[in-house]
Amino acid sequence: MPPPRTREGRDHRDYRRAPTGEEAWEKWDWNCPETRRLLEDSFFRDEDYIRQGSEDCQKFWAFFERLQRFQSAKTSRKEEKDAGCPKHGTSALADLPHTYDPRYRINLSIIGPDARGSRGPGRRLPPERVSEFRQALLHYLDFGQKQAFGRLAKLQRERAALPIAQYGNRILQTLKEHQVVVVAGDTGCGKSTQVPQYLLAAGFSHVACTQPRRIACISLAKRVGFESLSQYGSQVGYQIRFESTRSAATKIVFLTVGLLLRQIQREPSLPQYQVLIVDEVHERHLHNDFLLGILRRLLPRRPDLKVILMSATINISLFSSYFGSAPVVQVPGRLFPITVVYQPQEAEPTTSKSEKLDPRPFLRVLESIDAKYPPEERGDLLVFLSGMAEISAVLEAAQTYASHTQRWVVLPLHSALSVADQDKVFDVAPPGVRKCILSTNIAETSVTIDGIRFVVDSGKVKEMSYDPQAKLQRLQEFWISQASAEQRKGRAGRTGPGVCFRLYAESDYDAFAPYPVPEIRRVALDALVLQMKSMSVGDPRTFPFIEPPPPASLETAILYLRDQGALDSSEALTPIGSLLAQLPVDVVIGKMLILGSMFRLAEPVLTIAAALSVQSPFTRSAQSSPDCATARRPLESDQGDPFTLFNVFNAWVQVKSERSRDSRKWCRRRGIEEHRLYEMANLRRQFKELLEDHGLLAEARAAGPGDSHSRLQQRRERRALYQLKRQHEQGGGRGRKVLRLREEQDGCSSDEDRAGALRAGDSVDIQDVKFKLRHNLEQLQAAASAAQDLSREQMALLKLVLGRGLYPQLAIPDAFNSGRKDSDQIFHTRAKQGAVLHPTCVFAGSPEVLHAREQEVEGCDGNRGDKDRMSSRHQLLAFVSLLETNKPYLVNCVRVPALQAQRPEEEEDEEAAPVSPREVAALSRELLQLMASKVPYSLRRLTGLEAQNLYVGPQTVTAAPSLPGLFGSATLTPHPTKGGYAVTDFLTYNCLTSDADLYSDCLRTFWTCPRCGLHAPLTPVERISHENTCAPDPQDAPPGAEEATPEPLQKASALQRPYHCEACQKDFLFTPTEVLRHRKLHV
């Protein structure tokens, strides 16, 4: 390389030409806008480094003003100094300028307007001023370089200071020698951000890093992009359900586990990746466990694929041994020392009467912190509680304490909060005040808050558990595991030494389970089994899970999928099943989508399915606000919650298309979390695309506006939106704010308004921008307005589709509900008695719509409540899920006509063959007739004993009905378990035992007839009926008399059953006694 040349010569000349003759320009004013404009016109043109009007331009003038002040302060002192430096031998030093000037320290130069010819506006300016300006500009550019370089250096210093930095080479070396490496390190060691970069630096270019949470994908991609200096490049990207920044140039992609599984589904050998990092394996999420199983099978087939498992230092040997004792690189965490204080709660008898959590132990911690630590010593408090009810109990008490002491800001944190409220925990408390964050276990792993010095650990967690028998999700409180306790404790030592108060005894801690229960043991496995089937990984029962799920859960899931028609009798995937496996939703919602698109109700069903697949958009705080309730009322549908959600979404889309800026306010007024509606819109679009991909939905033609003018207009609008999005992304989003003391006193609604006003301050609603970029608002709006014009028939069909999709998730109202209070309405599902409506359910406020209203009483006395009441309008509730907290709750209910909901109506959907439109129309018509049919019937819940004795089978085989033509050409075969004859798979004829005497079996005793001498075990009723038939004819019947016996009378006895005698090949209607007597004849 040639020695660098310098250009100081030219620079000197520039300067010499500029005498500092102040007197000639006494009226010179740097602040004059005209002057500035002239300078800008010549120096900040479009092709220049700084452009006129840019942010940089403003920064420059601010810098310029500071520089002027600085220089005028300095010149006075500087005059005297003019010491030359001694001559020097070294050639490089020989030509150093003799007189010091700061400009010699700047290694760049600007080609100004005069160097490019003296045309242009700069001509009119005095050359010495231009020169002065040029010097300032040089200083500015130099300053910018130093600043950016400083950031770069700082970044590298910080990376080098991370605990994992010393292990980078070891990880790479181990990975060279082994296919799988386990990297174990605690929070803060830097593994998630650094390991991908080490791989990148080592030359790997197809790296995938999975994360359990979508948020983590985005934030890690951002951070790693920044650290690897490609923040504005595309080396580092992320891919989550609705968003992707991935391109051909992407070398590292952060993606969710679920998405990677879908990629494996498409390409089982994962050819697109060289290295796979599976992060947070210790969290033991369902999908993660499954992925590990898949990988273990894949690795022998892909010897070139490298896998890095990253884990906290929890149960590392489990992962290592699962992959044939893979090497472990263990990295120490970066935690400050944490003092643990055990404060077990002494049994306080006063609290026994209520289930509410006693907040006093928590207040005592607040008090002791106030007493022990001066307020100048900063450090916030994080309290781990089991659930929302516990949070509100402590919140109330802590706020009272806080308003008294003025030293705390108390904030709740749980997943049901609005996004804005969740974000508040990242704000800072004013000086002398601490934050007290009351959180669920969301703050254990998902949310990391800086500045926590104190942790209070209640030792409890509410976790979803799953009852495979009842297909019921249960939210129960448990003791946490030791691993969770350590994780919670660790939150106190991230920024300095901390204290962890454990509200349980050390002996309790020792009794905790070492690790939390993995998700695979806690949840319904329907979706997992379906996915396994569609990935053809073989029998789920023998799949090599890292820890196998409970066999009962697997069996229930398989049985359920068979019931739903997703698996056939050999447990192979049916066409419908493979379709359902493509849809990232519950099986029931998947069914809804498929049925909906068949019956040309795709648009409304898409919306409803999306709405049922996201968290409820209704905020909790609004439940208590009457204003919200009133504003929401017009949107409520007495058909059920799915229809309320449907209305909400449609109304919101209308608001969006009319005046999109107001949509945020519109939502807030109704207590709706707008974020969820955006999610619905995204999900809806995804469903639509999936249905289109599978030919269930005709692809919407990209019908743009006809003329080129409006097309141009549209393109321009989109470009403007992209511009806005880019600007927002560069702005870095929401900054931290300082919390106000006693914020909570404002009451929630005004609080939200204020938050809204603050956010409105940044004039761009980025969610709105993204929404408009992603969706065709016109299409959505068309669908929304079409929804308002749904005919009654369409509505009925829609309900049928919903009910059928949700089948068999049905609940029957209790017979005596009409006599109960609104809040005491109870319902029975197949497996759970006495479920209640969720308080958010629309029927919870108006249960009367569920009662069979009209009194079409026919031959039945009306004093029995709904029980046995004959009506053609009985209703059942179809529900999306059953959730047990303190009671079993039905969540997201829709009412459906009882009889029609019970009839599995279609066979067509079993086959994926295209159905002609005419058939669909005919089927729809018939279904509607069915819906309209008025058959009076009664509805009754079977008690346990009734259910046991429901069928005559399996021992008894009843007579085949001698009613030719009733069932058409269907062949009748005896039903193996129910008795009777199976006509179709949903109709078995003559299998029910008569409902008259259920308890008679218990009363059966041996008895000898005094007249005929019959000795048999008989019930009292049978005895009486025998006596009746035996009395008039005391003599023995003559042989062959039975042949003369007339066909039994229809109404002879409630005990009569069809009986087919093998000996004489005849059908009879006999009571049990008669059967015995008849048999005797053949002996």
Binding site: P4, C85, H88, Q156, E158, G233, R334
Partner: protein, 123 residues
């Protein structure tokens, strides 16, 4: 966005005095994508990673005009006084520099320890 097409890294710049490394995409005195700025020394340059603006560059470092060592721009490693000098060379020839530079180098000795002390407080 296609901002990357123009800045393929040519190699890794590594300062011979400190551990700083960064990919450079240009060596010379006329950074690409800008006409109005020239560099007074032959520099290793990358696109400024902290801005989306394509034509912003960041000078990483250059060779010491005495010992030809490749050094970064950091104040702990080098200084520019009409030419680039690595700090060891400046110290060896301190008398050749004007007083202002001498004072400045003197001052730098104190904060040069700053990074390590910062590390200490962070861990």
């Amino acid at each position: 966005m296609a901002s990357e097409a123009e800045c393929h890294p040519l190699g890794m710049f590594a300062c011979e005095l400190c551990a700083l490394t960064a990919p450079y995409s240009y060596v010379g005195q006329k950074p690409p994508n800008t006409q109005s700025v020239v560099l007074l020394e032959e520099s290793y340059v990358m696109k400024d990673p902290f801005t989306s603006d394509k034509d912003r560059f960041l000078i990483l470092g250059s060779r010491c005009s005495i010992c030809s060592r490749l050094v970064c721009m950091g104040p702990e490693c080098s200084l520019f006084y009409s030419k680039r000098f690595c700090l060891p060379c400046v110290q060896k020839n301190i008398s050749a520099f004007p007083q202002e530079i001498q004072q400045d180098v003197e001052k730098r000795k104190v904060p040069s320890k700053k990074p390590s002390s910062q590390l200490g407080s962070r861990t």
